[in-house]
């Protein structure tokens, strides 16, 4: 038997009007991690959906253990030993751990009644085998994303999965949890399980992948052993061009104080927050997940209340009680949750873009749709938004383009202070670069940009100053040119660098 677990040969798939995949060849070796890299829309998810039996390929063949197979449904895929851990985990939060573990395959007694005794004993055994500490009757909503991910993996293993597809598994878990996940992956490899790993995070890919396949525009660009590649090569192959400078940072002369926050408190969430941002400055906020960065920004933007403290915009103290107030004062915030707090899925890109600045288009109670369209169009050009038309529903665009539409929404408010909370989360390398360029353009126009990010390289690459938060407090501030390094920031972020 060869060491190839699964082989995808000459797979093609077209959708009306567009070729999503053409002549895909791809081999997954037994007991290895095979990373799949590509920009959004490169065809990764279409390929995975074909492997999972959700889509039917127009052409081509999939072989498992050198046997040709036809996969018509996810259930069939599961029977063939293929499981997928989706990016957005599917689970029922009100069900218990054991119920989720056996969802869709609950054992029944002869009378057709669910055999809860067996469920409990089996669940206990599985959890013990996998070294998971939670109780079988615990409700899923009491678990963290990482716990649930582990549970999903356990579910896959107990289903005798030989191939596990992981789609962006680290997009919403903490660094420590990433460590746990990677240990698990190493363990799975030892057991001979093959893993297809989809991620935008290059450092992770290089940390765990044995093979790397790069997709672009529905074709395979290359498949190589990871040790034969470096990050720059992968990135340039993914985007089909060379990105000269990953961070297009420009030094801009700093102007007056744009935002000053003094002694902001919210009991149990953050305390004594003091910071400032000048016109033309990019100020970063670093910290571990749960350090209170997002909560602080939400309070400043008026989304959540705060107990005490003062906020000065352009030197004047402002009382901000709602986003409505802060938008009026030209302070805006791009939320970290594009889906939950950003896009209005069923509406057009144009309506999504003009939403926060509607008053600019309404004179005497009448909305001038033509002016609206022209202004939005102009800003789209400036922000480099790629959309088939102004009437395309925003949910039909790629993540990067959605993000640029949302940036357009805020730029139309002519912000003095722009807070960007994780602006590059979940978008591909090319779009990330464009967002960085837009940030540079914003400060060139003498706006102040505040960037909250969990990715230290981008903070170090783009910011003039970085505040570091830990457990609700600002524990340090590092300046470009001085002690600007990941080590210093991590020391502050973990609370070591204090005092």
């Amino acid at each position: 038997m060869s060491d190839i677990k699964m082989r995808v040969s000459g797979v093609e798939k077209s959708f009306p009007g567009v070729k999503a995949l053409s002549d895909i060849n791809f081999s997954l070796r037994k007991g290895t991690v095979h990373a799949l890299c590509g920009e959004n829309g490169a065809g990764k998810s279409t390929l995975m959906k074909i492997i999972m039996g959700i889509y039917k390929a127009d052409k081509g063949q999939i072989y498992i253990d050198d046997q040709p197979v036809t996969i018509r449904s996810p259930i069939q895929a599961m029977e063939l030993g293929i499981s997928m851990i989706a990016q957005e985990l599917n689970y029922v939060s009100d069900l218990s751990v054991e119920e989720n573990l056996f969802l869709g395959r609950l054992p029944v007694t002869k009378l057709g009644r669910v055999d809860w005794k067996k469920v409990r004993t089996d669940a206990k055994r599985f959890l013990k085998e996998e070294g998971l500490s939670y109780a079988p009757d615990q409700k899923l909503k009491t678990l963290t994303v990482s716990d649930i991910q582990m549970l999903e993996i356990t579910k896959a293993i107990t289903n005798n999965a030989q191939i596990i597809i992981m789609d962006e598994p680290t997009s919403s878990i903490t660094e420590r949890e990433v460590g746990i996940l990677f240990e698990k992956i190493a363990e799975l490899k030892k057991k001979g399980v093959s893993i297809i790993y989809i991620s935008h995070k290059m450092d992770e890919v290089f940390q765990i992948a044995d093979d790397i396949t790069i997709l672009m525009d529905g074709t395979v660009v290359s498949t190589d052993r990871a040790e034969d590649l470096d990050m720059d090569t992968v990135i340039s192959r993914m985007v089909g061009r060379k990105i000269e400078n990953v961070y297009p940072k420009e030094q801009v002369e700093l102007g007056e104080m744009a935002l000053e926050v003094k002694g902001l408190n919210k009991e149990g969430i953050f305390e004594n927050i003091n910071f400032h941002a000048r016109k033309g400055e990019i100020v970063g906020f670093a910290g571990l997940v749960g350090a209170g960065r997002t909560e602080t920004m939400r309070a400043i933007f008026g989304l959540d209340p705060y107990d005490s403290g003062a906020i000065y915009i352009n030197g004047r103290e402002e009382k901000i009680r709602s986003p409505e107030d802060s938008i009026k004062k030209h302070l805006v915030m791009l939320s970290e949750n594009r889906r939950e707090e950003g896009i209005i899925p069923p509406r057009s890109v144009e309506e999504n873009a003009s939403l926060a600045s509607l008053k600019n288009f309404i004179f005497g109670g009448y909305a001038h749709r033509k002016k609206e369209r022209n202004d939005v169009k102009e800003m789209f050009e400036k922000m480099n938004v790629k959309t088939p038309s102004m009437d395309t529903e925003i949910s039909k665009l790629s993540g990067g383009n959605q993000q640029k539409v949302l940036l357009t929404r805020w730029m139309l408010c002519d912000p003095e202070v722009m807070i960007l909370d994780e602006p590059t989360r979940g978008i591909d390398v090319g779009a990330k670069f464009e967002i960085y360029k837009l940030m540079t353009a914003m400060v060139r126009e003498k706006r102040a940009v505040i960037m909250v990010s969990s990715e230290l390289p981008e903070l170090l690459g783009m910011c003039d100053r970085i505040y570091v938060m830990c457990q609700g407090r600002i524990t340090g501030c590092v300046e470009r040119g001085a002690d600007f390094s990941q080590e210093t920031i991590m020391r502050f972020a973990t609370g070591i660098g204090e005092g």
Partner: protein
């Protein structure tokens, strides 16, 4: 080009269905095209349309109103008795609107401030309002309305007064929905409430406004309903919220929120209205009519959902392909379309009967 044509078709399906239905109706019933009949249809549609606009606005915002029929009856009987007491039409209008708005402010309070699901809050109001109407009248119909009936039965230049009223209201509602900040906001709230809030939209205020507008519409509908029936009926208009909901939904309003148009609602109301009319003309059993109407709601919505899911399945993958770009029914062109649609559908409805009389 072919694709553009099919997308065009999909976008205007509802209007095409309406035209086809109109043609079929005129073929299968000789009386259908008579001026009298068409006038009747439009008069019958008036009350339902007013309720449908309110429901459309609420569904677009992500809510609904199950109390419309009962509040209509309550506002109607109080308006009738205040008219009988004072003889002033102005007082009657003020009472009708005040009562219906008050009920809807209560709805808005529970939905907006207490986060009670709209279904439950307005279900409660449905019983409360009906109860008050029956208690107030002692369950008796109020008769001899005098000139009050003009608002439902009068004619101006040969056009029924309610039809004129509804045409004016249609234009006003269209304007509010498409050209005010509030109107644009409700689409955002229904599409994604958190995102709307984070974009500086005062969602609570919008919820109140939506219910208040609904109240005004229901109040006016109450007057027209009582006048048309020549009596104050505390038991009247039972289930009218369903008529309104049906028109809005058949007209393409999405129950998920964020999608719905005035012109679609008008078309939806006419589709249901014409069907009812032609079934009556053909003497179809009333019970069978119920079955047909019920089936139509489900069919209309499943058609909508299926065609939409097909479209999105296709477009998830279409990233750079500007295939949709060729058809630019823009928001601005859309508003133009709405304008022409409401102009070509509603006012002619008022002006059609005279033309037809000459036929």
């Amino acid at each position: 080009m072919k694709k553009n044509a099919s997308q065009y078709l999909q976008k205007y399906t509802i209007y095409i269905v309406l035209i086809v239905l109109f043609a079929i109706c005129s073929l299968i019933s000789p009386y259908f095209l008579s001026g009298n009949n068409l006038m009747n249809v439009s008069k019958q549609l008036c009350v339902g349309l007013l309720i449908a606009y309110g429901e459309m606005i609420l569904i677009v915002s992500g809510f609904l109103d199950l109390s419309a029929g009962s509040v209509l009856a309550l506002a109607g009987v109080l308006s009738v008795s205040s008219y009988k007491a004072t003889g002033s039409m102005l007082v009657a209008v003020v009472v009708a609107i005040t009562v219906a708005v008050a009920c809807n402010v209560v709805n808005a309070f529970f939905v907006g401030n207490c986060n009670v699901p709209a279904f439950i809050a307005t279900l409660g109001m449905q019983q409360v309002a009906r109860g008050i109407a029956l208690y107030y009248t002692g369950g008796q119909n109020i008769l001899q309305l005098g000139d009050f009936v003009d608002i439902g039965q009068g004619m101006v230049f040969g056009i029924p007064v309610p039809v004129i009223l509804v045409v004016i209201i249609t234009v006003v509602v269209w304007y509010i929905v498409n050209h005010t900040r509030y109107g644009r906001g409700i689409y955002a709230i229904g599409g994604n409430r958190s995102a709307a809030e984070a974009s500086g939209i005062n969602t609570k205020a919008s919820i109140y406004k939506s219910y208040i507008i609904n109240g005004i519409l229901v109040g006016l509908a109450g007057m027209i309903f009582m006048a048309r029936n020549n009596a104050g009926l505390p038991n009247g208009a039972t289930g009218y919220e369903m008529t309104g909901l049906t028109a809005a939904i058949v007209g393409g309003t999405s129950f998920v929120g964020g999608i719905g148009t005035v012109s679609g609602t008008v078309a939806g109301a006419f589709i249901v209205g014409l069907l009812e009319n032609v079934m009556n003309l053909r003497g179809i059993n009333a019970y069978i009519q119920e079955i047909v109407k019920g089936a139509i709601i489900v069919l209309a919505v499943s058609f909508d959902v299926i065609s939409k899911s097909k479209k999105s399945g296709k477009l998830i993958i279409v990233k750079e392909k500007p295939e949709k770009g060729a058809v630019t029914h823009g928001t601005s062109t859309e508003s133009a379309r709405l304008q022409t649609a409401s102009k070509s559908q509603c006012p002619p409805e008022g002006t059609q009967p005279p033309d037809n009389k000459q036929l």
